[in-house]
Every structure is written in structure tokens, then in C-alpha cells.
Point group: C2
DNA sequence: CGCTTAGTTGAGTTCGTTCAACGACTGTGG
DNA sequence: CCACAGTCGTTGAACGAACTCAACTAAGCG
């Protein structure tokens, strides 16, 4: 089922445990809210297919997108481990999730140390991405930021083999703005510059990447490391 | 030794294991670089005393401070788990660290699931802080950001009982600027406003907090949750 | 004593913002 | 079938927040 090449191999017991750990599946449409800030969710999810994003908001409505979730990503670890969710999660495209029981976490840690290690691995990976985002928003210019974000999403999606032919990212310019800490207007003008340079094309609320390497170069970004990842 | 009230209780075996896990101590002066971006560090550290910060830099020198480290924090988890460090760590004050061997991590995961869980807990905690920082840099104004940062450092340090009488944070305005994504000049002008309102006082490269609650309010920030934390 | 680091302040400029209007497209209800 | 509202993207104009440049104080140190 999950034989994507870049996941590590598992033992039979691990696979069996994960199968029992799983308690159901969940499907949501684009735009659906999957988890809400402040909720005490009893569940942990894994993305099976589709795109989504995590975000936080201030009282007056200002919204900050923290990161994007793609197949293989864990959702709700914070809620599982520390009780309350401190961010919301929304679907960008139709998305399907695998649901795990929160209270089986301890069993997992007790009986399957390598799976426990994988969870830590994924948390560390998420931390890395957040570090990079922080660097972008804090220190890169508007064009650099935009180029970085699109290159980042492009590389992640490509790693996961999410593209078939055309590399289209299902986000609106509003999402880009809310990720980069810019206004929609300025985001639009900045993206137009990238489009004029032939690096991207925007159409039907998706971003088509024409030259991922050039984007990374504009951003001054090294790119993702091509490493194997575990899968839960 | 580590009987600070807000850490959880441990079993005798856990304490013994941690003692064996530990391979030494390390002390560094203020300004010393503890870990460098790109290095393949074989060690994992825990802060015993002192302040430090994690940061990333772009080629042209632009620097972004990602987060601050205080007693009880783990340093180098990324390097331990994924090989290469993607950020640097520098001491803000004289700092002492507890050194652990990287290759004993697997033993820990295998034999001490509750300690493994604690590591995940701390990674999730770090993620939370980064989320909050991202929201700040992306969506808060200069004054809000400054107030948030100082309130954040103040609350963390207070939780750890780092203050004796006067609550002084050992950072320069340059650090504040590099954390918030602002220029030093503008940071200075913004901090002056907070000082004029009687919320902080700046002297001898430290920031003295006069009214932590008011700072949190200016920032529109809820504050840290007062929960127990594990300790490694 | 000069040198460096940290903090301060003013002036002018730039980047990104808000306001405002408009076109293209989609879905909905009369 | 058309009118209408809603979302998304686009563009111009005016404004403002934050930047750069520059000069200066004060403190610490060899």
C-alpha cells in the first residue's frame, strides 16, 4: 500500500502494529477544517493523499500559515502529546487521512521503539522546515520569500511523487500571502515578477512551477535533502 | 540535582540510565559558538545553566535567530537524529551543558520508552514555540513583536526560576532585531517606546522586565501554559 | 589613549501597505 | 436563461512602516 520508494523498510510486526493502531479513515473536501486551535483532539492523523496546511490566527483575524501537510505527514501530534491543539489544520485539496487512537501512543513507545524513533524523526523534520520558514519570513525579501516558498512546496511534492506531468501546486495567492507575512496585493505583484521571468505560471487557483531550480536560486535556498523518511 | 519543581518524577532506573547516558559536561563563555550549521555533531546536549540561542544565516550574512535555549532544553537533536545540523547555537551567557553520546539514543528508545516519549514531548514543545514565533514575525507589528519576544523570554525564564529579584534578560538589541526580522535602528526605536511606557528598561546589554503582563497584553499573546515538563 | 561594542537619534529613501476599482470566472436562485 | 453575489486575480495611486545612511554618546578594555 505505502510502497513509495523513499520510506524505510519495516518489519512484519511493525506493519501489523500500525494496522491495529489505525482506527479508521477520514476524507475531507478542499477547504474543510480538519482540526481547530484550542480543541482537545483525541486523535492522531496521517495524511494518505491530498494537501493541507497548518495555521494560527490572532484575535483580529490576522492569519499565519505555519506549514503545509502532504502525504506521510503526521497531524495532531501536539494535541496527542500535550493535550490541546495550538494550531488549526485545513484541507487545500480533497484529502484522506488515517486515524490513530491517542491512547495507543504509550503502547507504541513501549513495544515499538523504532516506530517511536520515527515519530521523533518526523517531529525533528518538521522543526527543520519551521526553522527554514522562520529564516525566510524574517530575513528574505518579498521575491526571495515567494521563490523560496514555491520551490519548497515544489520539491516536497516532487519527492512524494505528487505530480503527474504538470507540476501544479493547489494554493491561492492568499495562501502565499498568509504564509509569507505579506499583503495579497504585494504578493500578487511579486508573483507577477516571477511569472514574467518565466519561473511560474498562475492559473485556476494553482501555481504551476516552470523552473524549480531557478526559484531555489532566486531564493538563495539550498533545497531539501534527499533522504529516506520513515512512515507511520 | 535537578529537583526543579516543574519537572516530572522519575523512577530510579531512569535516573541511573540518564547518569550512564551522560558522558561529560561542557562549559562555554558568553559569545561562544556551541554548534555550527553544517557540522556532523556526534553529541546531544542538555543545558544545565545559562542562556543561548539557535540561529541560521544566509550567505550574505543576514542572520535569523530561531529560538532561545535555557536550562533543561535539548540541543543538537536534529544533528543526532538526522546527521547534519542545520542551525548554529551560540551562548548568550556563560553556559554549562551536559553531553550525551549520540549512539546511545537507540538504547534509550529501546529500554526507556518513557524517556523516549519525553524527547518527543520536548520536540513538540519546541515546535509550538516556533509556531508562535512564526505567527509573530509574520503577522504582528513591530511593537507587538518586540513585546511578544520579551514577554516570551520573561515567562520562560520565570518558569525555570532563572531570576533572582530583578528579571534581567541577557540579550542585546541586535539579538532582538535578528529574532524579529527588523533592523537594529528600528528595533531600538521600538524598544524605546516600550521603555517609555514603563514596561521594560534597557541597560548594560540586558533587558529588565518591569511589567511582563502588560507586555503580553501589548502583544496580544496568551502566554505559556504552566505545565510540567520532563527532563532529560 | 585609541579601539571596539552597544545604544541613540535624525533625515531621506524604499519596500510593502491600504484603499479602490475592475475583469474573469463560478455557482446559485429566480 | 439571466441576474446576482462571491471568489480570485490584477492594477494604479497614495500612504506609512521599516530601511539605510550617517553621525554621535557612553562604556569597557588593551
Amino acid at each position: 500500500m505505502r510502497a513509495l520508494s523513499h520510506f524505510r523498510e519495516f518489519t512484519r510486526e511493525e506493519i501489523e502494529f500500525v494496522a491495529k493502531f489505525k482506527t479508521g479513515e477520514l476524507a475531507a473536501d478542499a477547504g474543510a477544517t480538519i482540526l481547530v486551535e484550542g480543541a482537545h483532539s483525541a486523535h492522531l492523523y496521517t495524511v494518505l493523499s491530498g494537501w493541507g496546511f497548518r495555521y494560527k490566527a490572532l484575535e483580529d483575524g490576522r492569519r499565519q500559515i505555519l506549514n503545509y501537510v502532504m502525504p506521510g505527514d503526521l497531524i495532531g501530534l501536539q494535541g496527542t502529546i500535550m493535550g490541546e491543539m495550538q494550531h488549526s489544520v485545513e484541507a487545500l485539496s480533497p484529502i484522506s487521512l488515517c486515524v490513530f487512537e491517542r491512547d495507543k501512543m504509550m503502547t507504541l513507545y513501549g513495544n515499538h521503539p523504532s516506530l517511536a524513533f520515527d515519530i521523533t524523526w518526523m517531529a525533528a523534520q518538521e522543526e527543520r522546515m519551521l526553522d527554514e520558514h522562520l529564516l525566510s519570513i524574517g530575513r528574505r525579501t518579498a521575491i526571495e520569500r515567494s521563490a523560496y516558498l514555491i520551490a519548497f512546496l515544489f520539491q516536497r511534492a516532487r519527492q512524494l511523487k505528487l505530480f503527474n506531468g504538470h507540476s501544479a501546486i493547489p494554493i491561492t495567492q492568499q495562501h502565499v500571502a498568509d504564509t509569507l507575512g505579506l499583503s495579497i496585493v504585494h504578493t500578487n505583484k511579486t508573483l507577477k515578477k516571477l511569472a514574467k521571468q518565466g519561473l511560474i505560471r498562475w492559473q485556476e487557483r494553482t501555481c504551476e512551477v516552470l523552473d524549480g531550480d531557478a526559484l531555489a536560486e532566486v531564493a538563495g535556498w539550498e533545497g531539501l535533502d534527499e533522504r529516506r523518511r520513515p512512515f507511520l
